[in-house]
């Protein structure tokens, strides 16, 4: 009984700073519900990092698994911390010229930041932490495309600069109320702002690094380098799908029942359609149903609907997902033909389908224009492509980008970390 009383007191005291006036109001309750959903969405997005870690591990070789996991673990840390130091302020600068603004170093708020006066959907802290999870997600997309041959130090430097500066600056153009927001460019949950931003860096990284040894031979033959753990890859995709309910559901920025439930449905339909789209496309092209393709397919559908989950109808969500599933398969095959080595299909999923999803908003929603969507796609393409190139080239000059040939053959686990992921197991590290 005593415990229950203490709980009630703490609950009411902590519940709202409006409480000075007495009973909590309906507005307080709605604020609490909104904020709670936003925090749930926050840790749903967080778990996507486990999804990325397991998916990338599963689709790459066992001799590089420690390195993959290390990169994934570092990225969440770097993403969150840089967002706290400067990212949040760059992305949401308040009043600014629309292109570049800064609200000051660090994160802090007054008492008003804890109330609906800041925002009816969430407190300042919720706002920060929810957005911080998104930033880290954009950064981790790159790690898959550069896997198995990038130097760890170079990767960490690149990621820090990219997530601290490039991601939030271009993010401010839309979500921060910048020039693209003024044009009515729409990216609901980040097909462009998160997935394409990560995707461009992934593309630049993959071709600047060059392909893995032995992947493309001089006479044009492509050698598949097999992922070592399909169960892990599948776990990763299901975790990513699971987290996407927070990624899209939380982008409603409140617990509005109509909006959030609608987004859950469009998101799910697109993911399911992505599986089928990829299944059909890959089965026809390759004659055999490929698990890694349908895994990528579900993610393709998810990325594809991310820009328009709030404004594309359920029926059209299926269409968006089906086409995304087809796009990802074609993109994977095409990138290989162009000798751009992407071990996990990050470029195909996040860049190709991110662009598709953004344009799809203009095609399938009457509220937004295809032309404006295209302008947005182009603007992000230019800035991110050029930005990533500059950063990678400078790092290549100063630090070097790629591990030595011997290290690549032996495996980055030994070369970069002096560790084994599967100590005690016999794994084939060379062919």
């Amino acid at each position: 009984m005593k415990n229950k009383n203490i709980f009630l007191v703490v609950f009411f005291l902590g519940g709202s700073s409006l409480l000075a006036n007495g009973e909590p109001t309906v507005a307080d309750a709605i604020f609490a519900i909104n904020n709670t959903w936003m925090l749930v969405a926050t840790f749903l997005v967080f778990i996507m990092h486990l999804g990325f870690a397991t998916l990338e591990s599963g689709l790459t070789q066992a001799k590089n698994t420690v390195n993959i996991l290390f990169k994934n673990m570092s990225i969440i840390a770097i993403g969150i911390l840089t967002y706290a130091v400067c990212g949040f302020s760059l992305m949401y600068p308040g009043e600014f010229n629309g292109f570049l603004g800064f609200a000051g170093l660090g994160v802090s708020t007054g008492a008003e930041g804890l109330t609906p006066a800041y925002n009816p959907g969430y407190t300042y802290w919720t706002d920060f932490i929810f957005q911080a999870m998104f930033a880290a997600t954009a950064a981790t997309i790159v790690s898959g495309a550069v896997a198995e041959r990038i130097k760890l130090s170079s990767f960490l430097v690149f990621s820090t600069i990219y997530v601290a500066l490039v991601y939030p600056i271009v993010g401010s153009w839309t979500w921060g109320g910048g020039w693209l927001a003024d044009k009515n460019f729409h990216d609901f949950a980040g097909s462009t702002l998160v997935h394409s931003v990560g995707g461009w860096a992934a593309l630049v990284g993959a071709y600047t690094l060059g392909p893995r040894l032995g992947k493309y031979s001089r006479n044009g033959k492509i050698k598949p380098i097999l992922g070592h753990n399909m169960p892990l890859a599948t776990i990763g995709v299901f975790l990513l799908w699971f987290g996407w309910y927070g990624f899209n559901g939380g982008s409603v920025l409140s617990a509005d029942p109509g909006a959030v439930s609608f987004v859950f449905v469009t998101t799910t339909l697109a993911a399911a359609a992505g599986v089928i789209g990829a299944m059909g496309t890959s089965w026809i092209i390759s004659k055999k149903p490929d698990l890694s393709m349908i895994l990528n397919g579900s993610l393709a559908g998810l990325v594809g609907i991310t820009a328009g989950a709030d404004c594309i109808s359920p029926m059209y969500s299926v269409v968006v997902g089906l086409i995304a599933g087809a796009i990802v398969v074609v993109a994977v095959i095409q990138l290989d033909k162009m000798k751009i080595d992407d071990p996990v299909g990050a470029i195909s999923v996040h860049l190709a389908c991110g662009i598709w999803g953004t344009l799809a908003v203009g095609i399938f929603s009457t509220d937004y224009q295809l032309g404006t969507q295209a302008i947005g796609v182009g603007a992000y393409a230019l800035f991110c492509f050029v930005g990533a190139n500059i950063i990678f080239q400078v790092i290549k000059l100063v630090l070097g980008l790629r591990v030595s040939e011997e290290e690549e053959i032996l495996g980055l686990d030994i070369g970069e970390h002096d560790m084994e992921s599967y100590a005690g197991f016999q794994i084939f590290t060379v062919e």
């Binding site: 053959i409 560790m419 794994i427 084939f428 590290t429 060379v430 062919e431």
Partner: protein, 114 residues
């Protein structure tokens, strides 16, 4: 007919394979192995503790050849040079084969070795 067993450093396998293909040696078996040789124990660090690994990863290559292919095979393997003073490159053992049988056709002897 001879069975050539080579214990090699893992990172040399792709290059040795290339050399063997050049000499038209296409048939061999590869297994994982662990061994000790000339190398000094290797230091690794795990969770803050430095420790010595004495059994190191190797690759065992087994190639069954007719007598005229023994020298090319040995040449192909030894050509992949690693002039690293501290690290041994392994050993080659040549054993006589009493009989060889191709399971698909039942052929024996030199034709079975192929």
């Amino acid at each position: 007919m001879k069975l050539i067993i080579a214990i090699i450093q893992p990172e040399e396998l792709p290059y040795i394979k290339e050399e063997l293909l050049k000499k038209e040696i296409y048939k061999f078996t590869v297994t994982n192995a662990k061994g000790q040789g000339k190398e000094f124990p290797v230091q690794e660090v795990y969770r803050g503790i430095s420790h010595e690994i004495t059994l190191l990863k190797k690759v065992r290559l087994e190639i069954a050849v007719n007598d005229e292919f023994v020298e090319p095979t040995v040449e192909a393997i030894t050509k992949v040079a690693k002039k690293d003073g501290d690290k041994g490159r392994g050993k080659i053992f040549i054993l006589p084969i009493e009989e060889c049988i191709r399971l698909r056709t039942g052929e024996t002897g030199s034709t079975a070795i192929g």
